[in-house]
């Protein structure tokens, strides 16, 4: 079995609320999960599912109601373990009176680095995240994307073994998202373990060795995407052009996007459909298999959770 970077056992978090704090809300319920060394692990779930709660518990920002967790073999209460981990909070906000270079230098001071080493690392990291020309500008003048890059720089400045990123792509434009994805892949190439939370499923599909799906504070599935999603072919998709007009019955089932048509048929009806379309004068552009995506799997879980919550509410009444 691979060495474990993160081991979570029965981790539970309840919040008290109301005027006298007598009401309880369970944000995370009995989470059991493991992240292996060297992998990119995606923690996915809708907003309010418990992703950030889990990460905050791991980072010691909040405390568990029950259960425990170990990072790199050490309990999460051990602060010295923080030498080997990097963390990017969700929607990071840093001291805006500092410049990016000053902020990185400030954080580097907690890692017992010499002044020369700090200076060299700060410059290297600013270059790596594309901020070498903005390093002397105060953070209050930074855009959201720039702050995210500073956040990534501070999380990886001290060459950690494990990097935990909370919603690193949230709110970023496509260019910035691509840059963050590249940084995550680079971390993986450097042998780091990366755990990141996201609700952007395409990012998880592209980047992750394994994903954990959390909905309503409970872990619903964990493993490689191909393992947790039923990858059986659900049908065939034919993409075709139709220069003229025709009345073939199949066309009623097709979806038109611009000049192009898209038609989904069962696997055993593929050749019949192609023959009909060609007979009608269509030019076949491509034929591909339709498989369940992570998104469909995810939506199925979310809908099941909502249905369950609604049932509980009705029976409660």
């Amino acid at each position: 079995m691979a060495e474990l970077a993160i081991e979570i056992e029965n981790l539970t978090k309840e919040y008290s609320f109301g005027f006298l704090h007598l009401k309880k809300k369970t944000s995370l319920e009995g989470l059991n999960m493991q992240v292996e060394t060297g992998e990119v692990f995606g923690f996915i779930g809708p907003n309010g599912a418990g992703k950030s709660t889990t990460i905050k518990l791991l980072m010691g920002l909040i405390f568990p109601t029950a259960g425990s967790a170990r990072i790199l073999g050490k309990p999460i209460s051990d602060i010295e373990m923080h030498r080997d981990i990097g963390y990017l909070p969700e929607q990071p906000y840093f001291y805006d009176y500092l410049t990016a270079a000053e902020l990185l230098d400030y954080f580097a001071r907690f890692h017992d680095l010499t002044a020369a080493d700090r200076k060299e690392r700060v410059q290297r990291m600013l270059k790596k995240v594309g901020l070498e020309t903005a390093g002397k500008i105060q953070l209050r003048k930074y855009s959201k994307g720039m702050l995210q890059r500073v956040g990534l720089a501070q999380a990886t400045l001290h060459d950690p073994k494990l990097v935990i990123l909370d919603e690193p792509m949230s709110g970023l434009d496509p260019v910035a998202r691509r840059e963050v994805r590249d940084i995550i892949l680079e971390l993986k190439r450097d042998g780091k373990t990366v755990m990141f939370s996201t609700h952007i499923l395409s990012d998880a599909e592209v980047l992750c060795d394994r994903v954990g799906v959390i909905v309503g504070g409970k872990l619903r599935g964990v493993g490689a995407t191909s393992e947790i999603v039923d990858m059986k072919t659900q049908g065939m998709e034919i993409l075709f052009d139709l220069p003229g007009t025709c009345n073939a019955p199949l066309l009623a089932k097709a979806t038109r996007t611009g000049e192009r048509y898209r038609l989904q048929v069962a696997e055993d009806q593929l050749y019949t459909a192609i023959e009909q379309l060609r007979g009608a004068g269509a030019r076949i552009v491509s034929v591909s298999q339709v498989k369940a995506t992570l998104e469909e799997y995810f939506m199925h879980l979310v809908e099941a959770d909502r249905a369950q919550a609604a049932a509980v509410e009705v029976s409660g009444k």
Binding site: Y15, I62, I79, H82, Y87
Partner: protein, 258 residues
Amino acid sequence: MRRVGVVALNTFREAVRDRVLFNLVFFALLMMLAAVVVGQISIGIEQSVIVSLGLSAISVIGLLISVFLGVALVSKEMDKRTLYALLAKPVRRWEFLLGKFGGLVLTLAVNTVAMATGLLLVMLYVKHSLERSDAVVLVAVYFILLKLALIIALALLFSCFTTPLLAILFTAGLYIVGLYVQELRNLPLEVMSPAMTAFTKRLSYLLPNFENFNVMALAAHGRAVPGTLILQNTAYAVVYCAVVLTAAALVFSRRDLK
């Protein structure tokens, strides 16, 4: 302790960049105005008026900074979530807390020393010379600084478990009560039951005694402050701050960040 120092220096840098020390301009203008006016209208009691005015200004400005910035030390970091990235570094929560305390004490020390220098310059302008007995002004300034450190510690403690507004009210309230601790001890027996008397007496020893730090009257008349009072006040402030900061660290160490 190195990590405490790193946090403290950054807290000082924050105060400087947020222009906290700009209050010195106000103090300088006040002192210049006082020098001109006092020189003309208060023949013979210039020293008393200038010293009283100067020490009062140092105390009030310091109080405002220590209460408002003391409460903001932790609450601002939690509200803006700047604390998240910091606590992910190998920093213990008590180290962060002590660093923030040290940083604001350093800020106020620089501020107070600058104001005290201004006060001495105005005294020199009005009296044309400074005497050995004027050193009592420095003792009074030192006591103000001890008092401010105590207020910062209290503000920090309250901000660890309540909202900023309530923390400001609690700190200011405790300061006002702390000015009348002696009166609380000497409440007349005939108006209270023995149990109530015992309770108020015990309470008066728990409350911070800010009265002892006020030597403005002695300073205004150039009278020396007993050495024992200097030692006693220093020890009192150090021990009281240590107890309050320990309590703050205990509360903060188990607090969930939102």
